[in-house]
C-alpha cells in the first residue's frame, strides 16, 4: 500500500515537472532551468518505477534493466555531448526515433498478454503503429538532414498512394482489434507496414523542411507514449505523452508559420527545395537557399549578441524607419549589447544621406563609423542588421568585374557571425509582438548573405 502511494505520488511530481519544464523552456531566460527540472522529474519517475515496483522480480531482470540504462546513458550522453552544434537537429531526430521504437517494441511484447481485451489491444496496436511510423520517419529525416538522402523522391500521385497505405494500415489495425485474433503474424505485418509508411511519409519532403517533420513525429511519439500509459493506467506516461503530443502539435504549426508556409505544403512538398524556408536557429548554410526569419527571432538573436552593427541604406530613408532603428539601438544597449552604425560613404542617394537621417533621431555621433574604420570590426561582430541597404554591402563589388559597382569599396558584412537583411517593409506601423514592435514593423527578413 505504502509504496504504491509514494510511487503514484512520485509520478504526480514528475508530471508536474514536465509541465513546468516545458513552460520554462518557452522563455530564453528560464529555458535551461526548465530543461533540468524536467530531466529531474524524469529520473525520479524512472527510479521510482524500478525500486517501488511491487511484487517479486528476478535480480537478473534488475541487472538487465540496470545494464540497459547504464549503456543507454553512456551512449546518449556521449553522443549528445560530442556532436557539433550544426548536427543538433539530426540528433533530436535520432533520439525521437529511439523513443518511437521503444514504444513500438512495448506494443510488440505486450500484444499477446492482452489478447481478448479489446480496449487494451486497440491501445497496443495504436501505440505500435504510431511508434513505428515515428521511428522509421525519424530515421529518414535523419538521413535527409545529414545529406545521405539528397533529392526528395516523388512520383506522380505519390500522396494518393501514401494515403491509401495509411488507410490500409488503420483498417487492418481495427480488424485485428475487433477480430480479437492473437496472430503474431498479423502483429508483425502491421508493424512493418507502419515502418514502411513512416519511410514513405518522410521521403518526399525537402531537407529544409525536416525540422517541421521532426517536430511532427515528435508529437507522434508523444501519443505513442500516452497510449502505453493508458495501457498500464500509468499516469506519468499518460500525462507526459499527451503533453508532448499537444505541445508538439502546436509547435509544429508555430514552426510552419515561422517559415510562413502551411503545414500541408510542407508535408505534400508543395514547394520545391530551392525556396524552401528552413528552421530558424539552424546555422548551417543551405546551399544558395534563403532563410526567412521572424522579428522576434532576429530580436533574440541580437539580444544575446555582444556586438551588433547596423548598416543603414537608402531603404531606411524610404521607409523613414530611422526612429524605429534608433529605439532598437537603445533597447539593445539597455540589454548590454554594443551597437554601432556602419555608414558607407555612398549609402543613400545623396552624400551624407544617412547622417541626415540618423541625426534626426539624435543618434550619438560617436556611434556612426566610417567604412574604412568599421570594416575591420565586422569579423568580431555577432550580428549585423542591414536595413534597406543593398549595393553598399554587395560582394559583387569585389567579386564580379562585370557588375556596375565593381571596384566600389563596400562594407564586408559577410565577415560577421550572422547577418540579418531587412528589405522592403510591408505596411510600417503595424504593431507586432513583445518588445520587437517597432523593429518588427519594417521587418520581413532574409537570413544569409546580402543579395536580392
Amino acid at each position: 500500500m505504502e509504496y504504491i502511494f509514494s510511487l503514484e505520488f512520485i509520478y504526480l511530481i514528475a508530471s508536474v515537472t514536465y509541465i513546468l519544464g516545458l513552460k520554462m523552456l518557452g522563455h530564453p531566460e528560464t529555458a535551461r532551468k526548465g530543461n533540468l527540472i524536467a530531466a529531474f522529474g524524469m529520473t525520479l519517475a524512472i527510479f521510482g518505477t524500478i525500486f517501488l515496483y511491487q511484487g517479486k522480480v528476478e535480480p537478473l531482470i534488475y541487472s538487465l534493466i540496470g545494464a540497459a540504462i547504464v549503456i543507454g546513458t553512456i551512449i546518449g550522453w556521449g553522443v549528445a555531448k560530442k556532436v557539433d552544434m550544426t548536427k543538433m537537429p539530426e540528433l533530436v531526430s535520432l533520439f525521437n526515433g529511439m523513443g518511437g521504437a521503444s514504444a513500438a517494441i512495448i506494443g510488440l511484447i505486450e500484444f499477446n498478454h492482452y489478447v481478448g481485451d479489446q480496449l487494451s489491444i486497440a491501445t497496443i496496436i495504436a501505440g505500435l503503429i504510431i511508434g513505428s511510423i515515428s521511428f522509421s520517419g525519424s530515421m529518414i529525416a535523419l538521413a535527409k538532414l545529414n545529406g545521405t538522402l539528397k533529392k526528395p523522391i516523388r512520383f506522380p500521385s505519390y500522396n494518393i498512394v501514401n494515403n491509401i497505405i495509411l488507410i490500409a494500415i488503420l483498417a487492418f489495425g481495427v480488424y485485428i482489434t475487433m477480430s480479437g485474433s492473437d496472430s503474431q503474424m498479423y502483429l508483425y505485418l502491421i508493424f512493418f507496414a507502419a515502418l514502411a509508411y513512416g519511410v514513405l511519409f518522410v521521403m518526399p519532403i525537402g531537407g529544409a523542411d525536416m525540422p517541421v517533420v521532426i517536430s511532427l513525429l515528435n508529437s507522434f511519439t508523444g501519443l505513442a507514449a500516452a497510449f502505453a500509459g493508458f495501457l498500464y493506467g500509468n499516469m506519468v506516461m499518460l500525462t507526459g505523452g499527451i503533453l508532448v503530443g499537444s505541445a508538439g502539435t502546436i509547435l509544429t504549426f508555430a514552426m510552419c508559420d515561422a517559415m510562413n508556409r502551411p503545414l500541408a505544403s510542407v508535408i505534400f512538398g508543395a514547394f520545391g527545395e530551392g525556396t524552401a524556408g528552413s528552421e530558424a536557429s539552424q546555422k548551417s548554410p543551405q546551399g544558395g537557399s534563403i532563410k526567412k526569419t521572424t522579428p522576434s527571432d532576429a530580436a533574440i538573436l541580437m539580444n544575446y549578441a555582444n556586438k551588433v552593427i547596423i548598416v543603414p541604406g537608402y531603404g531606411l530613408a524610404v521607409a523613414q524607419a530611422q526612429h524605429v532603428i534608433h529605439e532598437l539601438e537603445l533597447l539593445l544597449e539597455k540589454k548590454g549589447v554594443e551597437v554601432k552604425y556602419a555608414i558607407h560613404p555612398v549609402a543613400g542617394r545623396m552624400p551624407g544621406h544617412m547622417n541626415v537621417l540618423l541625426a534626426e533621431t539624435n543618434v550619438d555621433y560617436d556611434k556612426l563609423v566610417e567604412m574604412e574604420d568599421i570594416n575591420s570590426e565586422f569579423k568580431n561582430t555577432d550580428a549585423v542588421l542591414v536595413v534597406g541597404a543593398n549595393d553598399v554591402v554587395n560582394p559583387a563589388a569585389h567579386n564580379d568585374p562585370g557588375s556596375p559597382i565593381y571596384g566600389m569599396p563596400i562594407l564586408d558584412v559577410e565577415k560577421a557571425k550572422s547577418i540579418i537583411i531587412n528589405k522592403r517593409s510591408m505596411n510600417p506601423g503595424y504593431a507586432g509582438i513583445e518588445n520587437e514592435l517597432f523593429f518588427n514593423q519594417k521587418t520581413s527578413m532574409l537570413f544569409g548573405d546580402a543579395k536580392d
Partner: protein, 102 residues
C-alpha cells in the same frame, strides 16, 4: 456505440485529465520565439522518453525465461534511455547560447 459510451463513462476522469493536459500543453507553448523552437522540440522529445517507464514495466513484468520478451524489452529500455538522456543533454547544449551575459 455502447462500447464507446461505456468506455467514456468508465474512464471519465482519464478523459478529463487528457483534455486538461492538452489545454496545458497548448497554453504552455503559447507564442514562443522561433529561436526557441528547436530547443523546445528537443525538450519535448526528451520528455516523451517516458515510454522507457513502459519498457521497464514490461521487463519487470516478464518472466526471466521469456528470452524474446526480455531481449526486446532490453532494447526498448536501452532506446528509451537514449531518448531520455540524449534528449535532455542535447537540449541543454542548445540552450547554452542563451546563457545570460554579465
Amino acid at each position: 456505440m455502447d462500447v464507446l459510451i461505456e468506455f467514456i463513462s468508465n474512464h471519465l476522469q482519464m478523459i478529463y485529465i487528457v483534455i486538461l493536459m492538452i489545454f496545458v500543453g497548448v497554453e504552455v507553448i503559447g507564442n514562443v520565439p522561433a529561436v526557441l523552437h528547436t530547443p523546445l522540440m528537443s525538450g519535448a522529445n526528451a520528455i516523451h522518453g517516458v515510454v522507457i517507464i513502459g519498457a521497464i514495466l514490461v521487463m519487470l513484468g516478464t518472466s526471466p525465461d521469456n528470452i524474446l520478451a526480455l531481449s526486446l524489452g532490453f532494447v526498448a529500455v536501452l532506446l528509451g534511455t537514449l531518448n531520455v538522456v540524449g534528449g535532455f543533454v542535447v537540449t541543454d547544449r542548445m540552450l547554452e547560447m542563451f546563457k545570460k551575459k554579465k
